[in-house]
Structures are given as C-alpha cells and as structure tokens.
C-alpha cells in the first residue's frame, strides 16, 4: 500500500504528445479513478505507473522511492488489462500462481494463497479450468485474483469492466469496491464511463488530451466542475454561454447568449473565478430546476419537445432560443411535449465556469 506521486510526467509517441505534464498525488489506500474520453492519455498514464511506458520527462514516486527508471517487473504493481490477458496455455491455477512462482514462494504457500484469493473472488474450485472454459465475468475475476495474490503495492485496473454486459458490470463494480476497501490497497482505475467513475471512486481525475482538467471527489467534480470540458463530460445539464457584466461579492450578473436574458450565477471553481467582462459557460444541473417562476431567482420560459418518464422523475428536454434545456421534474408533474413552460433555478445552483 503506497502513496503514488507523479511530477509533471510527459510522454511522447513520435510527434504525438500523450501526456503533457501530468502531476497527481494518490493517497495510500485510495480508490482513484482516471476518467476521460478515448485518446486522452489515461491508459498511457496507467502504463507509465506500471512501467510499460518510459516517461520522457518528469518523475514517479512510490512513497518516497523514485521509481521513474525502475523496470516494470521490479515495480511490484498488480495490473489488470482490459482484455484480461489470461494465458491460454495455462490453467486458472497456473495463471494465478505465476507471479508467486516468479517470487519463488514455496509450493504449499502458493497453494494456500491461490485458494484464498479464489475464495475472495468467489471462484472456488475453478483451479483446473482453462481460460477459454470461463465466462467473461469469470475471466475478469481470475485476472483480478492474479493481480491481488501477489500483494502488490498498487492495483492498476485498465477499463476492466468494459467488456461485461450491463448487469454484470454493476455487480462487479460493487464487488471490486468492496474488495478494495477490505484489502485497503491503493488502486488506480481507468475508465471512460463517467457514471462508473462517479460511483466507485474516492477521488477522480478528469483528463483530456494529455492534461488533467480537474481532480476531486465525485461530489466536487459534479457540483463544481472547474472546466467547461469537465462540466460537459460529467453528468448532464444545460449549458449556456454568457458574458460577465458585474461581480458582487460571490454573485455575478451574466448576460446570456441568444437573448435569454440576464441571470445571477456563482463561480463553479472559486479558486478560478471568472472576471468581469469574460466569457463563461453557465451550467445548470437538471435536478436544480423547478417548475414555475419565482422572484429573485433565474427564470426561463422554454418549449418542451420531449418528455421521458424515468420512474423516479420525469426528464424534460426543451429548448429556448435555440439552446437546449434539460430539466428534471417530479414524476407526477404535468408537462407535455409541445407545451411552453416556465422554470426557475436558484443562482446558487447556477454555475459559471471560465471558458479559457
């Protein structure tokens, strides 16, 4: 269990820069997720921690040890690849025991630990099977068991659930989280699925084009996206561009585009608050709208074009002056497609993000 720190790592592939100075600190025992669209560099980052990619610039530390130039087989990380990489010519037992054999662990202990870890992932009795005799979910668990049995300093997971069907994915997600908490092992998890990231992470980092856009807890990132990209990528919402007219203490007056009028908003990231005259992206989460109009709030009038009944709420898709609005209302609210409704939102939930 270690603390991981990367300082400004840069990785190039020919002319393409995959990591542009990534500095992150991952706490001991933390479940840390790297989230981003494909091509953002998250897998490259993970592989750099594992040692399969040698960074061009920067440093990597496991606790206080500088492992930047340590070859992968000496780093004692446990990696689970996206395709599980189970060796087809070995049984489940041999696959899991491999790392222990390399470490010259005596046979009785290997037996014991393999049995233990199989029990942990609920695959008792599968020792003699070969990978092609296993289902997708079972293969995934073997890969996990293999990584865990060696007691690695850090667990590295590269989109391990993306090949599973939806229901299995949810189950495995919970299972993973539970295991991780139980073992207390530092874990770096890579995914492009933001819902997944939000649900299991202690903290997460959102990356795009080789750069970390924001690091924080899921709530932080959801409620206070620091960046237009993050805001767009995480969760859903209504996004309207605007111009900052005035700033009073913590509230700002913003002139919205497309003639939607003026609203009051708060900076999403107080440490990076927009200044007067700057262009911002105003972001409103669907659940923060209310039907009707109220004084001293931000009011809008929108044309509804689609209503989805989602059981616990109704999701209203509407537009006003060409801008798309996404509004969540109570399940028994009366809204129908083709109607025009009034909605309001508290300025405290109207976030303004600098557009750099």
């Amino acid at each position: 269990m270690v603390r991981i720190k990367t300082v400004n790592i840069v990785k190039r592939f020919g002319n393409f820069v995959a990591l542009r100075g990534v500095s992150l600190e991952i706490k001991d025992g933390e479940f840390f997720t790297i989230l981003g669209p494909s091509g953002c560099g998250k897998t490259t980052f993970l592989r750099s921690i594992a040692g399969f990619e040698r960074v061009d610039e920067g440093k990597i530390f496991f606790d206080d040890e500088d492992v930047t130039y340590l070859p992968p087989h000496k780093r004692n990380t446990g990696m689970v690849f996206q395709n599980y990489a189970l060796w087809p010519h070995m049984t489940v037992y041999d696959n899991i025991a491999y790392g222990l054999k390399v470490r010259k662990v005596p046979k009785e202990e290997i037996d014991k630990r393999v049995k233990e870890v199989l029990k942990m992932v609920h695959l008792e009795g599968m020792e003699k099977r070969t990978p092609h005799q296993l289902s997708g979910g079972q293969q995934q668990r073997v890969a996990l068991a293999r990584a865990l049995v060696i007691n690695p300093r850090v667990l590295l997971l590269d989109e391990p659930l993306s090949n599973l069907d939806a229901k299995l994915r949810l189950e495995m997600r919970a299972e993973l989280k539970r295991l991780q908490k139980q073992l207390g092992i530092t874990t770096i998890y890579v995914t492009h699925d933001q819902e997944e990231a939000m649900s299991i992470s202690d903290r997460l980092a959102v990356m795009d084009i080789g750069v970390v856009k924001q690091v924080g807890t899921p709530e932080d990132i959801y409620n206070r996206p620091s960046d237009a990209f993050v805001a767009n990528f995480i969760g859903q919402g209504t996004f309207i561009k605007g111009n900052v007219l005035e700033i009073h203490d913590d509230k700002m007056l913003i002139e919205l585009e497309s003639g939607l009028g003026k609203v009051y908003a708060v900076p999403s990231d107080p440490t990076n608050a927009p200044k007067e005259g700057e262009t911002v992206l105003v972001t409103i989460r669907p659940e923060n709208f209310e039907l009707g109009s109220r004084k001293d709030m931000n009011n809008f009038e929108i044309d509804v074009y689609h209503v989805s009944f989602l059981g616990s709420k109704k999701r209203v898709q509407a537009e006003a002056n060409g801008i798309k609005f996404l509004v969540d209302v109570d399940p028994d609210a009366v809204v129908s497609a083709g109607s025009r409704v009034k909605v309001w939102v508290d300025p405290r939930y109207t976030l303004a993000i600098r557009i750099s």
Partner: protein, 630 residues
C-alpha cells in the same frame, strides 16, 4: 476437430439434410459438385487405387508386399536384439558412417577431406531420419531468426529479413543443382573456408544423405522462419506485459510465456517442412549414385515400371507407405493448415510490436550469423546463375569461361523450347482451372456453415500432404489406356496434376479474402433482390479480386517448377513433357551431361518466381507475408 459430420440418429441426419436444402441453393450446389467431383476423380480415386493395389499380391488380397518390405534389410536394416548386459539391447545393421576421411596427395601437400556420407539404415528409416534432421535444423535456424527479427530493432533488419527468405525463390530440384557444384571439394564453400580463410584444417564434402539434409535445410528453413515470425508478431503484447507485471523477466519470461505462445506458428512450419522433406524427389535425384538414393521417393521413382511398362506392386506398396507417413503428419498439422486458421493468422499484426534495440555487440553477432546463413542460403541461386552463364566448368572454383550460349539453346533447341512452351501452357491452363475451382471452394467454405463443411476444407488442403510421386503412381495405375493416357499425351494428366497439387495456394488466398469481406455486404444485396449467384459475381468476386490474382500467380509459378509428376509423366512421353523433365533429361541423359543448360532453365524459373512473388506481394501488400508462408 473431427473430420466427419457427426449426426448419428436418423433425426439428426434428416435435420442435416434439411439444413443443406435450406442453405445450399443451385448455384452453390453446382460449384460444390464440380469441385468435389474433380477432387474425387483426380485425387481420391488414384489414392484409393494405390491403397487397393498395395494390398494385392499376384492377384489376391494380401499383406505380402508390406511383409516383404518391412523384413527386407534394404528397406529397414537395423536389427534390434536383446543382450544380457547393459544396455540390454544391441543394434546391428546400421551401414555407413557419419563421415569418411580421405587424404589426397596434391601439389601443395596432403589434403584431408571429410566426406560426409551419413548412416544408411535402409530406405524407410533413412527417409524418416532425413526428414527429422532437416526439420530440426530448419526449425532451429528459422525460429532463432524469426525471434530476432520479430523482437529486435537494428539497422538493416528489414532488408536482411527479406534476403533470408531468398531460398523461397528456388525449388528443391533447381536449388540442388545449384548447390551440388558449390559443395564439392573444389567448390566455393571449401575454397573459402579452407583455402582462403583457413578456418578449417580440412575440407568438408557433403555427399549422399548428408548432402540431401543440408540442401533441404537450406531451401526449407524460410518456411519455419516465416511462420514463426508471423506467429511471434501476432502475440498479444499484453500477455507478456502481464507476465512482466507479475515480476517475470528475461529468459523466464521467454520460456513461460513467449515461447509457448509462438509455438503454433513454429509447429506449423516445422511439420510442413517435414512433409516437404518426405516428398522431395528432386534432391535425391540430383545426388543419385550415392546412398541418397535410399529414400522412399527415389525408390518409388526407380522401381516404378516393370520391363513391360506396367506399375510394379513394389512401387505401389512403397507409395502407400510414403502416403501413410505424410497423411499422419498432415492430420497433426491440419489444425494449422486449415483455411480458417490460416485466415486468422493472416489478419496481420494489429499490435504495436514489442521491439527492443540490440546492443552493438549482439548486433554484430546477429549480422555474422545472418550473413553466414545468407551466404549458404544463396548458394543455390549463385550456383545456378554461375552454371547458367558458364561455358565450361571443371573442378575449379569458377567456371572456365562465361557465355550466353546456354540461353540461346533454350530457343534454338526445339525440344528445349517446346518443353518450356509446354510448361507455360500447362501451368496457365492449370492456373485457370485452379482459379475457377478455387474461388468456388473458398466461397463455399467461407460462407456455408453446415456440419461437414470442414470436410471440404480438408479435401482442398489435402494435396499438401500427397507426395507428387504417389499421385504420379496413381495416375499410371488408373489412366493407362483411357483417353487421358499419359503415354499418348501427357498434357492432360500434367494439367490435372498441377491443378490438384497447386490448388491450396490459390484457395487460401481467396479464402482469406472472403473472410475479410463482411457477409453483410452480400446479404444486403440479396435483401434487395439479387440472387445468390448475382450477389457473388457483382459483390463478392470483385472484392476478392486481388486475392484471386495473387493466389493464382503463386499457383502458376509453383506449377512451372513442379518436379515429381512432371518427371514421371515426361519420361513416358517426352514430346509433351514439361521443362522440369527436360532439365532432368539433359542433366542425366543428354550427351556430356550438361549442367549448364538446365541451369539456364533454372534461371528462367527463378526469375519468373521472383516476378510472381513480388507481384503477389505488391497486390496484397502487408497481408502477403503469410501468403508465401506455406
């Protein structure tokens, strides 16, 4: 994978028949019928006839031939007996020796020559041992180089790798001709290492079975090389990365993960070399007059006819033994040689390869090893080239003088010219037939998915396992005194033989092509109203056109250089004989046994081969490496 469809109950059979009626429409049915009939008539029938004849002795069914052959010391000479003392078995009857030392008095003193002759254990063990030796040596050379080129980067790697494939440009017959001169005690190898470099204190002259092994190794190793190379670069790098993640490195990593995963390609290549060695007639012929004759192919060839021109029972029985050997090996390798497996392999490397740079020291070592191998591997070509342009060549290092006369003979001598024309015609017609039948077969195996279709797959790849001499024997048994009689006109059976024997090349290429064409493309055409036939001609065929062309080119060039049936049928009717027969004829029966004119013909063949292979490569680009593969 079982060869036969496995319906057992009547209900299953009925269901199977219904499935067939649903999937196979008249178009497919007719294609299927034609392909299967051709193969049944010209591949299966002769083989069955051989098997049948082998069990007949003087008119009745009996095992007499086999009994006689297996107890004849000419065919199997070692006799094992039990003794009273350690190690409790005694083996006698192994003739010959690995080598003989000969000393000669020359002007410059005493010259020691180590004549490599090899053990002679009778025809059957010899055949097997030669095949094993060739396979082992080819595999070592092929695998080592495959690994180096697949995993390491160093300057000049790419051109070197292509050069090492050079032996693919020569066929066993032509290559052996070229090598023979270079390997003698006054040839290039000995002159270089003994006279000039003085590395060895003696000369080495391979002869007999040893020469056969050396020649075969030099010509076949690229097959293992290519297959192993493809296999290694197709290894999913995450397999090795995971092992590294687990703490493995260096040799341990290689031994536990890399090696097992590259084995399929190596095995496929090795087993193919084994079969090719078993069925090689050309090399023993070139080295005949020594114990090289004591291999199955040569003996069948030598003992084929009675004084009255009929096929002897002995030859038939020997043919059956050879056939059994090759088929057994084929069944083992069929997994790797089947069309589906082949198509998978040729999808090409999609990963970024795990390559490392080599240190300078090791790079130099690799270069030395590669150049040495290259030097040996290019001897056949150099030999053939020198011979082709030589006017006279006594026991000296180089020819006495050079001339273009040998090439002129190709046009001026009507027999030589006609034999070349014959070859061109037969190969062209055969290639046409192969394309027509091969496209059908490939289409069917690719698109039709009913039980039993693997049989078709097996049938069309079977020719790889059937030695040419066996097919020739079968043809003589069946087709004498029929309209296809080879004595009257060898053209028909030669065309058929080429068609059957060189079928697999085109079929594989086209099959790969079809596999890469999404079924949905045809299905949308059918959905829009096109019949299956129409969809085939307007959608599927144009999309695999390049594959057809490339595969056809390969079939063409290998038909041109085909030796076994060409020689036997050519002997029966020299007028219609192909050019390989003429080469053989001039070599051994032309007055003052010219090596030169056959070499000139060999140059033509090599040149054609070069053009075709380069052409096929260009057409298919990166997918082509595996095409030449096997």
């Amino acid at each position: 994978m079982s060869l036969l469809p496995s319906p057992f109950s009547f209900k299953d059979i009925r269901r199977w028949i219904n499935e067939i009626r649903w999937t196979i429409d008249p178009f497919i049915a007719s294609q299927l019928l034609i392909v299967v009939s051709v193969f049944l008539a010209f591949l299966i029938a002769p083989l069955i006839r051989i098997v049948y004849n082998a069990f007949i002795y003087q008119g009745t069914l009996s095992l007499a031939w086999f009994y006689s052959i297996f107890s004849d010391p000419f065919y199997i000479s070692p006799r094992i007996s039990l003794t009273n003392e350690f190690p409790y078995i005694a083996i006698e009857g192994i003739k010959g020796s690995l080598y003989k030392v000969i000393t000669r008095q020359t002007d410059s003193g005493i010259e020691t020559i180590i004549l490599l002759t090899g053990y002679d254990m009778g025809v059957i063990p010899n055949t097997i041992l030669v095949a094993i030796s060739t396979t082992v040596l080819s595999t070592i050379i092929g695998f080592v180089f495959a690994f180096i080129f697949a995993r390491y980067k160093f300057p000049g790697a790419e051109p070197l790798r292509i050069l090492l494939l050079a032996p693919l440009l020569s066929t066993p017959f032509v290559g052996a001709i070229g090598l023979k001169k270079m390997l003698t005690s006054t040839g290039v190898i000995n002159t270089l290492f003994y006279d000039i470099l003085r590395i060895l204190p003696f000369k080495i002259e391979p002869s007999g079975l040893m020469a056969v092994i050396i020649v075969q190794t030099l010509i076949f190793y690229p097959i293992v090389f290519l297959n192993a190379y493809t296999s290694i670069i197709n290894i999913d790098p995450t397999m090795e990365e995971q092992a590294e993640n687990m703490g493995a490195s260096g040799f341990y990593l290689f031994r536990t993960v890399t090696l097992p995963l590259s084995l399929p390609g190596v095995e496929a290549g090795a087993l193919l070399v084994f079969i090719l060695s078993l069925e090689d007639l050309g090399t023993p012929i070139v080295f005949r007059g020594t114990n090289a004759e004591k291999v199955l192919t040569y003996q069948i060839f030598y003992r084929l006819f009675t004084p009255t021109g009929y096929v002897t029972g002995e030859a038939t029985a020997l043919a059956m033994i050879l056939l059994t050997l090759t088929i057994v090996i084929f069944l083992v390798v069929r997994k790797y040689v089947s069309l589906r497996r082949y198509a998978m392999l040729t999808k090409g490397g999609i990963w970024r390869p795990r390559v490392r740079k080599l240190s300078l020291k090791v790079t130099i070592l690799v270069y030395i090893a590669a150049f040495f191998t290259l030097f040996m591997a290019l001897q056949p070509h150099i030999g053939v080239l020198l011979l082709a342009f030589a006017g006279e060549w006594g026991p000296t290092l180089l020819p006495g003088y050079f001339t273009l006369d040998n090439f002129l003979v190709l046009f001026s001598d009507p027999d030589v010219f006609r034999s070349i024309m014959n070859s061109l015609i037969y190969s062209s017609v055969a290639t046409l037939l192969i394309i027509l039948l091969g496209v059908s077969a490939a289409y069917i195996v690719s698109r039709i998915e009913i039980k039993g279709i693997e049989m078709l797959d097996a049938l069309v790849t079977l020719p790889i396992a059937i030695p040419g001499i066996v097919i020739a024997t079968g043809y003589f048994l069946i087709f004498l005194k029929t309209p296809l009689d080879p004595i009257v006109n060898g053209a028909y059976l030669l065309i058929i033989s080429y068609t059957i024997r060189k079928f697999p090349f085109t079929v594989r290429a086209v099959f790969s092509g079809f596999e890469q064409v999404d079924k949905a493309l045809e299905e949308s055409a059918i959905n829009l109203g096109a019949s299956r036939a129409r969809a085939f001609f307007t959608i599927s065929l144009p999309l695999v056109f390049l594959n057809v062309l490339a595969g056809g080119m390969l079939s063409f060039i290998y038909s041109m250089s085909e030796v076994s049936t060409g020689i036997v049928i050519g002997d029966a009717n020299p007028y219609t004989a192909p050019m390989t027969w003429k080469m053989y004829d001039i070599l051994f029966k032309g007055l003052t046994g010219g090596l030169f004119v056959p070499a000139a013909m060999g140059v033509i063949l090599m040149g054609l081969q070069f053009i075709m292979i380069v052409g096929a490569n260009l057409l298919l680009r990166k997918r082509a490496t595996a095409l030449i593969g096997v």
